[in-house]
């Protein structure tokens, strides 16, 4: 295994139909599933139970341990802290909970936001656990995402780990010299770290570019790396999941 193997810590290797499925089908299915969940109207909560069933079935077919999927949800916590404010800031009518006057609309909005973000993470968690990141990028290419975006995304996923460890070293060095970035007047320290990290990343980028150019890179990856077309059966199997999810979404809109 190479020194930087992006997404390896998210991947759970196994030989299941979900793992074997062409990446472009999985990427499209994940995207559409998350979109179907995102479009669920406010104030209705039964579709989320159906979405959970769908995710659970796919995860079971892919033989993913449920705990691992749940552990991934930790990353959404910082982004969701603000939803805690919604019940306090929302419009009346208010409901009394443990002596606190909470807005009903705000509570519903906060719950929906948290649920939608959670299902987004569960779906991409299944995708990342069954598909290596380079294959996800190849799948995006086959879905006709402009090559500029896939190229940039490809470099990004391959080098994030490298930059994280680089940043770790810079922070250690800074701490050794008594640096502590906590307050606004220490912005200089932060800027120094950011600047150094940037120069180091760009110089690495220059070396990578030279190495690629010397191996014949002309702006696109060779066709051999972007996989093969998927059959009708693969598409049907993959798209069944978002389709079933969309049924609940449409049902929630109509009912």
């Amino acid at each position: 295994m190479s020194a930087h193997d992006p997404g390896a810590e998210l991947l759970i290797p196994a030989d299941t139909p979900v793992h074997r499925l062409a990446p472009q089908c999985k990427v499209a299915a994940t995207f559409l599933f998350v979109l179907a969940v995102a479009l669920t109207p406010g104030g209705v909560f039964w579709p989320y139970a159906w979405y959970l069933v769908l995710v659970a079935v796919v995860a079971a077919v892919a033989q993913l341990p449920p705990l691992m999927l749940l552990r991934r949800l930790v990353v959404e916590v910082p982004f969701l802290l603000f939803v805690l404010a919604l019940p306090f800031l929302g419009e009346p009518p208010d409901v009394d909970v443990l002596g606190l006057g909470l807005s009903v609309v705000g509570l519903q909005a906060a719950t929906a936001i948290a649920l939608k973000a959670t299902f987004g993470l569960l779906a991409t968690g299944v995708l990342a656990a069954t598909t290596p990141l380079p294959e996800i990028i190849a799948g995006l290419e086959r879905l006709r995402v402009p090559p500029l975006f896939t190229a940039v995304a490809g470099f990004m996923v391959r080098y994030t780990e490298v930059l994280l460890s680089e940043l770790g070293r810079l922070r250690t060095a800074r701490a050794c010299r008594g640096g502590d970035t906590r307050w606004l007047w220490q912005a200089r320290d932060i800027a120094g770290t950011v600047g150094a990290l940037f120069v180091r990343s760009f110089e690495r980028g220059e070396r990578v570019a030279l190495a690629m150019a010397s191996r014949g890179y002309t702006g696109t990856m060779p066709d051999a790396l972007s996989g093969t077309a998927a059959g009708r059966q693969a598409w049907a199997g993959a798209l069944a999941v978002p389709l079933l999810a969309a049924l609940a979404t449409v049902g929630a809109v109509v009912l």
Partner: protein
């Protein structure tokens, strides 16, 4: 600044998506015209750089809240075409893999985060740089750094005002507009000051170290055009 699902209405989300696709199509075409073989790897490394800086697990910023948005920094480093592309890739990955912002409102988020720095920040940056070049005692490097910093602050404030306007047109979270306006613009006014200082200091440091890595370095002045 990442708007979550259900925070705005569907028509607004669709409008945002249309604007984002149109803007990014222009950026992609222009970037494709200008790109040399070394620029794509650089843009990719820049994307990794912004992703690392914005990762919430790294307390690199003031206190625990807020992080570098970096839109204007990206535009200053990579130009008005590659900058939005890089921020777009970062935002899409954050949306899909960290739960930051909703997929259905991705277009609106991209307009605020990726396009505003190019459309508002970049002209401000170029105008200020020209203005400061005439000021005595203000070297070209310092002038460029200050121009970048002010442009970054202006972009952040513009994005927060734009978000409030978007919420006024199609808000759906059940929070009164006045509360949203006061809390968003208030918080982001502070973020804007920090963003401006850090952007200016980073540009200043880079101009001293590797001026060739900064697109808006004084030497490039004649080849630049506002979007």
């Amino acid at each position: 600044m990442h708007i979550p699902d259900g925070f705005v209405t569907a028509p607004l989300a669709a409008t945002g998506a249309a604007v984002a696709v149109a803007g990014l199509a222009v950026c992609t075409r222009q970037a494709g015209k200008q790109s040399t073989e070394r620029q794509v790897p650089l843009a990719g490394l820049a994307a990794a750089f912004f992703l690392v800086l914005q990762a919430p697990i790294i307390p690199i910023s003031v206190g625990t809240s807020g992080h570098l948005l970096g839109g204007t920094l990206a535009v200053a480093l990579l130009g008005p075409w590659f900058g939005p592309v890089v921020i777009t890739v970062v935002t899409v990955v954050q949306t899909l893999f960290t739960g930051a912002g909703g997929l259905s409102v991705l277009g609106v988020n991209l307009v605020n985060l990726a396009l505003v720095p190019a459309v508002v920040g970049y002209p401000v940056l170029l105008g200020l740089r020209r203005l400061l070049a005439g000021v005595r005692g203000c070297g070209t490097h310092a002038g460029t750094a200050i121009a970048c910093g002010v442009a970054a602050s202006v972009s952040v404030v513009t994005a927060s005002v734009l978000f409030t306007a978007e919420y006024a047109v199609g808000g759906a979270a059940g929070v009164p507009l006045r509360t949203v306006a006061v809390s968003t613009i208030g918080v982001y006014a502070v973020v804007a000051v920090f963003e401006g200082i850090v952007t200016a200091l980073v540009i200043r440091a880079l101009l001293a170290l590797r001026a060739d890595l900064v697109q808006v370095a004084p030497e490039h002045q004649d080849t630049e055009q506002a979007p």
